[in-house]
Amino acid sequence: MLICENLLFSIDGQKLFSNINFNIETEKDLLITGPSGIGKTTLLSILCGLQRPTDGNILYNEINLYKLVENKIDEFRGKQLGIVFQNFNLINAFTIKQNLQLANTASGTEDYDHLYNLLQRVGLADKSHIKVSKLSIGEKQRVAVARAFAGKPKWVFCDEPTSSLDDKNTDIIINLIKEESLRCKASLILITHDKRIQSILNFDQILKLGEKI
């Protein structure tokens, strides 16, 4: 279970958001929405251990994330979390396979069959040797999704995964993320202001930043 307790984040003394509370059961989904600039990406960074909150706690199955030392947070992120960033955050100089292997190495799983199957499902098995810099936006998006699942995570976070995609590709990517999270038995936490997503997927919970659900 992921528990978010009284989360507060301020920049230079100004509150970006406060009093964020939610619980997500294992294998359940959460959609976080809100207008641009409300702090959705910052919230995702906090949930993933990339940005320390001003106050509040994040608990993953009773592990208080920010009570851990920094390298333990990194280790936890590598082993338990998968992240699809809005701008993909792929290493352009590396091939598709190398990008996935890095995530696999960080998670400590070293399961190359799993990587191959993942690449097959996202339709990039034949291009695994190609450098990321030579891929189209849609292909990069699929690599980012595959990488998020490379370490067999228990929680998957997606930040605006469809912001640069047309309707057809949005449908493909969202269904791919959902399928992979079901396959991994992972909880899915998706952050977006894209209204198309709610018409494609049903979520167990929806959190509108600034509003109580």
Partner: protein, 374 residues
């Protein structure tokens, strides 16, 4: 990496040349106190008589040489006569006690019993493939000119064990053999006093004679007395300045290579700070990133210095192989290169310290701001 290779190559050659040359000069001199020969350059006399790398200053009378050996200040003396070579290995005419100087031992065969018999050094046997009972003819001069004494060949009667000194590179024979080839006298036995030798190798009974004896020879005779230790130390003083200059140059080049590694890594980190931040998001810890950068820097440094070390060795061996000087002066032993490893170790330590700067920069990197600013 190129600067590291270049710097390490120069350091290696400099250390090898300096150390092995000094070592060889020390080993080649069997504690001789003074050399007496024809007037000329004392250094030339020492180099030609003990180290066999220069031409002799001239000849001295054998009769005078015998008288000097009988001088009360002298404990031990042996004359040598140079003039010929076989495949660039010098043929030395001398007396049997010459072998005592180097504690030489016969590996096969025996010492000569009559003229035109010879004993060959360890390297001569290996290089020329001469064996016991084989004949060879000497060439005029101290390098192979092709002008040979075809009418009177030498016979090999003994091969010496390895001594690690210049003796390994010499062909030793009796004075009579040299005189037979070079004098017009038909009866060598009865005309020795009128013949000449190249130099006289001497040891004092008492070291205090080092002041009076050379003065006696230099003032009162047409010969000169030269101290091997004094002349070689003068030589090293001269070459030492050149060595210092080479060492300063190599230190400068290696320092530039440290700066090169430092700035290359810093530049790489600036270019790849986004990639490093991505690694952090994937779960690589700060310590892991630190070690990745450190391993990268140390790999450049280790490989560069190692390749430089190998290149230095190759350059040194080439110098030794291609120069006649090298062939005669260098014993080809690498016992003293431990100093080289100390220098290599110091270079690796300094590289390590230089690598820490970019490692710490990468360690302190803020992931989120790096990702946001990209």
């Amino acid at each position: 990496m190129l600067l590291m290779i270049l710097g390490m190559t120069i350091i290696t050659v400099s250390i090898l040349v300096n150390q092995i040359t000094k070592d060889t000069f020390n080993k080649n001199n069997p504690n001789l106190d003074v050399i007496v020969g024809a007037k000329g350059s004392p250094l030339q006399l020492v180099l030609s008589s003990i180290h066999h790398i220069d031409i002799p200053t001239g000849n001295i009378s054998y009769k005078n040489a015998k008288n000097i050996i009988k001088h009360p200040a002298i404990k031990f003396g042996v004359p040598i006569s140079l003039g010929d070579n076989f495949q660039n290995f010098r043929i030395v005419g001398t007396e049997k006690k010459f072998f005592k100087l180097y504690n030489a031992q016969i590996e096969t065969g025996s010492i000569w019993r009559k003229p035109m018999q010879s004993v060959i050094g360890f390297n001569v046997a290996n290089s020329t493939k001469l064996k016991i009972d084989k004949f060879f003819v000497g060439s005029h001069g101290l390098i192979d000119t092709g002008d040979v004494h075809a009418e009177q060949p030498y016979k090999v009667v003994g091969v010496l064990k390895k001594t690690g000194t210049i003796l390994d590179n010499l062909i030793i024979t009796s004075l009579d053999s040299v005189w037979l080839l070079h004098s017009n006298k038909s009866d060598i036995k009865n005309s020795r006093d009128s013949l000449e030798v190249t130099a006289l190798l001497l040891k004092y009974k008492n070291k205090t004679s080092a002041f009076s004896f050379p003065r006696l020879i230099n003032r009162n005779t047409n010969m000169q007395a030269a101290s091997p230790n004094l002349e070689i130390s003068k030589l090293f003083k001269l070459t030492g300045e050149a060595h210092k200059a080479i060492n300063y140059l190599s230190i400068l080049i290696v320092s530039l290579s440290f700066a090169g590694i430092l700035f290359t890594l810093l530049n790489n980190i600036s270019e790849r700070r986004y990639d490093l931040a991505i690694l952090r998001t994937l779960g690589f810890s700060k310590e892991k990133i630190f070690s990745i950068i450190l391993i990268e820097g140390m790999t450049i440094s280790f490989l560069g210095s190692f390749i430089g070390l190998i290149f230095g060795g190759i350059v040194y061996k080439s110098i030794e192989y291609f120069s006649l000087l090298g062939k005669n002066i260098i014993a080809g032993q690498f016992e003293l290169i431990y100093e080289l490893f100390v220098v290599w170790f110091i270079i690796l330590i300094i590289s390590f310290v230089a690598c820490l700067v970019p490692c710490i920069k990468a360690y302190k990197q803020n992931i989120r701001s790096t990702l946001l600013n990209n």
